[in-house]
């Protein structure tokens, strides 16, 4: 009975489903905490990470969540900044997902630290030349700005403030993703990184991943609440997703074509695109095909008007995003540093050899914890506040007319 008091409308009240979802998310989170304390006790010796692959599977999940968190806010930005009603109705859910996913992503990064109990040190000691330190400011600022933005969206008396707050949130999220991409762009020593392209690349990835996550979450919410979405609304969202996915493929192509022009980058490109074992497979099969080409085919196919097709396309983009992060983060480290160009190198410290990496269950549990945290925050918030996107079709008529 208690749970029923918390739901907004009778038809949305499915206490059994709600508590099942919270229980499932909580179980995953328990597993994450178990992994965290185990690693805290024994050290990272239990993980597949080592002195060669220093960032592993937890970082794949964490960076995906952080990038997608900034991207999912785009839905709100299009509503508030550009005044589109279709997106305005979705702004609260977009803001909520942004906060939930950023919280999940950051939690994974913190749980993976060698000294997580020193989080307070990271909050009080800043080296402002470090893009990592600047990111901490961007992340905390993001929570504050998006939080205030959500209040202006949901409190009618503060509604007039939603446009300037939406604009601020939009600019802030662009800066945040630029800084996140620059974590890799500023690594001067490694062939796989060290490119200014990483900033715009991550911004465009965030557009695609964020919208894809939004479509997945909205589809599930509508399904569970037995709400039929207007096919024209779905068409708008899927077309926008197609543009973002195509732009992501374009930027990825530019990054690799640029590298192919530099003789010193040929070895790395040969590794990541052709001969690097798992990485070319994940790049072409995972990132490009499953996460790019197949969603585009689905979106533009005759069956794309069916909500399930759009849902599947969005889910594939999310999956492809994880493959992309794996190729970018781990593939970039697996390729050895070239200290002496023109020489073959060998040592007891694994110089000159491709570094193998096999993640362990502990890393997977840490990574899944980020998704669990985002899931729990979203599920609980949707239960108690009005985040469900609801369209006034009469008002939307004008906007939905074909251009």
């Amino acid at each position: 009975m208690l749970s029923q008091q918390y739901c907004l409308e009778a038809r949305e009240c499915k206490p059994a489903l709600f508590w099942t979802l919270m229980g499932a998310g909580g179980l995953v989170l328990l597993g994450t905490l178990y992994a965290f304390f185990t690693l805290e006790h024994h050290g990272h010796v239990l993980t597949g990470m080592d002195n060669q692959i220093v960032w592993g599977l937890p970082h794949v999940f964490a960076v995906f969540l952080i990038v997608a968190a900034s991207g999912v806010l785009n839905v709100a930005s299009i509503g508030s900044v550009f005044g589109k009603r279709l997106y305005k109705a979705r702004a609260p859910l977009s803001g909520l997902l942004a906060i939930a996913m950023l919280a999940g992503g950051l939690a994974v990064l913190v749980l993976d630290l060698g000294r997580p109990e020193r989080l307070i040190v990271a909050m009080t000691h800043y080296n402002f030349k470090s893009i990592f330190a600047l990111n901490m400011i961007f992340y905390t600022g993001f929570f504050a700005i998006v939080g205030l933005y959500l209040i202006t969206l949901m409190d009618r008396s503060l509604n007039p403030w939603s446009k300037p707050m939406g604009m601020l949130a939009f600019l802030w999220r662009i800066a945040l993703t630029t800084a996140t991409g620059s974590i890799f762009g500023f690594i001067v020593a490694r062939a796989g990184f060290n490119s200014a392209l990483y900033a715009p690349l991550f911004v465009i990835y965030s557009f695609a991943y964020g919208l894809a996550v939004f479509i997945v979450v909205q589809s599930v919410m509508y399904k569970w609440n037995e709400i039929q979405v207007d096919p024209r609304i779905l068409a708008r969202l899927k077309n926008l997703l197609a543009i973002f996915v195509a732009a992501s493929l374009y930027f990825t192509a530019v990054l690799h074509l640029t590298n192919l022009y530099y003789a010193k980058q040929w070895e790395f490109e040969r590794f990541i695109l052709l001969e690097g074992g798992i990485y070319p497979l994940l790049f072409w099969g995972g990132q490009v095909f499953l996460g790019g080409i197949l969603p585009l085919i689905l979106i533009f196919s005759p069956i794309s008007r069916h909500p399930a097709t759009v849902f599947l396309a969005a889910l594939l983009v999310v999956l492809g995003g994880h493959f992309q992060m794996y190729v970018t983060i781990i593939g970039g480290q697996a390729f050895p540093l070239d200290l002496f160009p023109g020489y073959a190198e060998s040592s007891t410290f694994y110089d000159g050899v491709v570094h193998p990496y096999t993640p362990t269950i502990w890393e997977l549990l840490l990574g899944l914890g980020g998704i669990a945290i985002a899931f729990l925050i979203t599920t609980a918030a949707v239960r108690v506040l009005r985040f469900m996107p609801q369209d006034d079709l009469k008002e939307l008529e004008l906007e939905l007319k074909p251009h």
């Binding site: 010796v45 020193r118 500023f186 410290f349």
Partner: protein, 249 residues
Amino acid sequence: MSDLQQKPVNEERRTLLKAGAVATGTALAPGVLLFGAAQARAPEEPASDKVRWGMIIDVNKCADGCNDCVTACNEENGLSGATGPQDSQWIRKLNIRHLKTGVETSLPMLCVHCEHPPCVDVCPTGASMKRADGIVLVDRHICIGCRYCMMACPYKARSFVHEPLTDQNPEVPRGKGCVESCTFCVQKVDRGENTTACVEACNAAGHKAMIFGDMNDPTSEIAQILKTQKTTEIRADLGLNTGVRYQGI
């Protein structure tokens, strides 16, 4: 002129000048004395930027198969000497073979103590830092173990402590969850020994392939070599102005 000579001496003025001279001398003397003392720094004094510690490694003198520098480093700094992917290695012997000519060379590789270290630039908390005398260190009190410095180091010089440690050298504190690398045996430098374990071992083996010293002291052996002979920085293209230079590459 004679009029001037016969003028009575102004005693007051002389007293003032004398007092001024004494006061100036009193004010300057400690500074001059301290400057002298800075050449042989007392342990409690901070590192001075007048010094820049550096190393020159002559790869022609480095014996193939000799591992004495590595062993000495492990002993001095309390490293296990294990060489698994998760074990710390502060110095390693690197074998390089020219891809066209096939010429093989063996050389020790360690933290090169850059003037502009990428590890220091990227560290979010400032734990990765460069001392005034050019030694690049990790402050074990504020390292959070994020490993961004390991991503950023072009020389693969850093290691992460993957498991709990016991029986450490009290002079070289290390700990699980922190990043570490060669310190130029900072404990020996601060004791005034002005040498490193690897250099001592190399000399003891009779190879004399490694020279450690103050690159800013014109009378030091290292400064003389830098001035008169060709030395090479690894990844000089990055413009990091390394403290470790090589000869014979």
